[in-house]
Amino acid sequence: MSVDRANVAAGVAEVFERILHVDVRGADAGIRLGSHPAWDSVAHIDLVLAIEAAFGVSFPSYQIAELASVEQVQRAVEQKLASGAG
């Protein structure tokens, strides 16, 4: 299943803005889990739950801590969507 990467990137950026109030395509580009005050481990769970809800996907618990950068989140969403897995 082909995935529109631009759409995924836009969707991920929107979730980051909504949950963490950061602009990952602008001033906050390159932030990682733990590198920005808004993105601590507690907020990370809220972020992942929101990403899952936005894209209709679900990540196993062992993968969640690995979604530590915007790129890693995007890639993980793309992989889930491409495999057709929820």
Partner: protein
């Protein structure tokens, strides 16, 4: 007459979630005297009421459905990892040690969740505490003693009210009101094992009975700017009310916890937990225990269950030592190794030597559970016990 009711939950409860869901269902109504999942259907429970009444049953049923749906909705299979496995010299005959210990006056049941230990079990507790003292020394901890009462403000800072409200035990006293005190003195009586008295005579609780030991240390260090990582050890009585689940030494309302605690930099605290785990494995081995150490999550209350459990699982915050109980299918958690990131550092404004919110970890043992696991696995006759334990018993044992 016992009336058995049925609740169709509207969702199938996954096997891994059944214990936690059932544990929470006990809290939906007073007077539940029996509660079990249907043997064949994962979406059905059966329950009994002390006073059978259809209206009460209907309300209980509705709440059970609500609880089950909420917990199942947020559930995702956790990938628990086994970190260590120990196989003791031999798992014993498999009998539940409680009846024999009661018969020999080595155990006394005072009431729900309240058991007294006689000489045999107490000798084991003393040996265990001596060994835990050594573990504490190896971890370079300093001894502390804390109150059994804990301030409501401390538990609020720990967010305990929202995480585990169902397990709280409150402490109160009569209000400083002469009339109320005199009325209590005249009228208070015990009915069906409960104190019957005018509840308006009781003061609003400023303290509760502490559910854990380490919270006291965080409160003690509140506002501190640490120059080095603090390492402490303490033991104390802890209280967790488990409706429907209070069951022998394995699930006490009033139990003893022994903890080693670290407060400081992330590096130091994670190393502390790792060292605590290594030393504990050596202890378990010396006592000949058969157990697993695995990642785990706490039994959070319904409303926060899914998110908090996911948080613990995602960041490997909790390891649990679960010992085999030969007479039961389910193992028993006898110890845990917990990393709290900077949660308590932030909650209590404790700064590490790095100038950041302190990280914390604790290595905790449930003393009575440890003893139960030992007796269940090795039996109650000292001649069958591992020499490392048997040879240190007092001569009178």
């Amino acid at each position: 007459m016992i009336v058995r009711y049925t609740a169709d939950l509207g969702v199938e409860v996954p096997e891994a979630l059944r214990k936690d869901v059932l544990g929470k269902l006990w809290y939906v109504a007073e007077g539940l005297t029996g509660l079990e999942l249907d043997a064949a259907r994962a979406d059905r429970v059966h329950f009994e009421l002390a006073t059978p009444e259809d209206g009460v049953a209907a309300e209980a049923r509705a709440r059970m459905i609500e609880v089950a749906k909420r917990m199942v909705a947020g559930y995702r299979p956790a990938s628990y990892r086994v970190l260590a496995q120990l196989k003791g010299p031999g798992v014993g005959p498999g009998d539940d040690p409680h009846p024999g210990l009661v018969a020999s006056s080595d155990l006394h049941h005072f009431g729900r969740g309240r058991w007294g230990l006689g000489p045999l079990a107490s000798d084991l507790v003393e040996l265990l505490e001596s060994d835990l003292h050594s573990v504490g020394l190896d971890l370079a901890t300093a001894p502390h003693r804390f109150p059994t009462l804990i301030g409501a403000d401390t538990l609020a800072s720990c967010k305990y009210f929202e995480s585990f409200p169902h397990s709280l035990t409150f402490a109160s006293h009569l209000r400083e009101d002469l009339g109320a005190i005199q009325s209590f003195a005249r009228e208070a009586r015990v009915v069906d094992g409960h104190l019957a008295a005018d509840s308006s005579a009781f003061a609003s609780p400023e303290c509760l009975l502490s559910p854990a030991v380490c919270f006291h240390l965080y409160q003690w260090l509140a506002g501190s700017r640490l120059t080095d990582t603090v390492r402490a050890r303490a033991s104390g009585k802890c209280f967790r009310y488990e409706s429907g689940g209070l069951d022998g030494l394995g699930r006490l309302w009033d139990f003893t916890m022994s903890e080693c605690i670290a407060v400081g930099t992330q590096t130091d605290v994670l190393a502390f937990r790792e060292q605590g785990l290594e030393r504990s494995l050596a202890l378990f081995e010396a006592w000949g225990l058969t157990l697993d150490v695995h990642t785990a999550t706490d039994p959070f209350f319904v409303d926060v269950y899914a998110k908090q459990a996911l948080f613990q699982a995602a960041f490997d915050l909790k390891f649990e030592a679960s010992a085999t109980l030969p007479y039961r299918k389910e193992p028993l958690a006898i110890g845990s190794f917990n990393y709290h990131q900077d949660f308590f550092g932030r909650a209590f404004d404790i700064q590490s030597a790095e100038g950041r919110p302190a990280h914390t970890a604790c290595v905790a043992f449930g003393i009575e559970r440890f003893v139960l696991a030992f007796l269940a696995q090795h039996g109650t006759a000292p001649r069958h016990w591992p020499a490392a334990v048997r040879d240190r018993l007092p001569e009178s044992a």
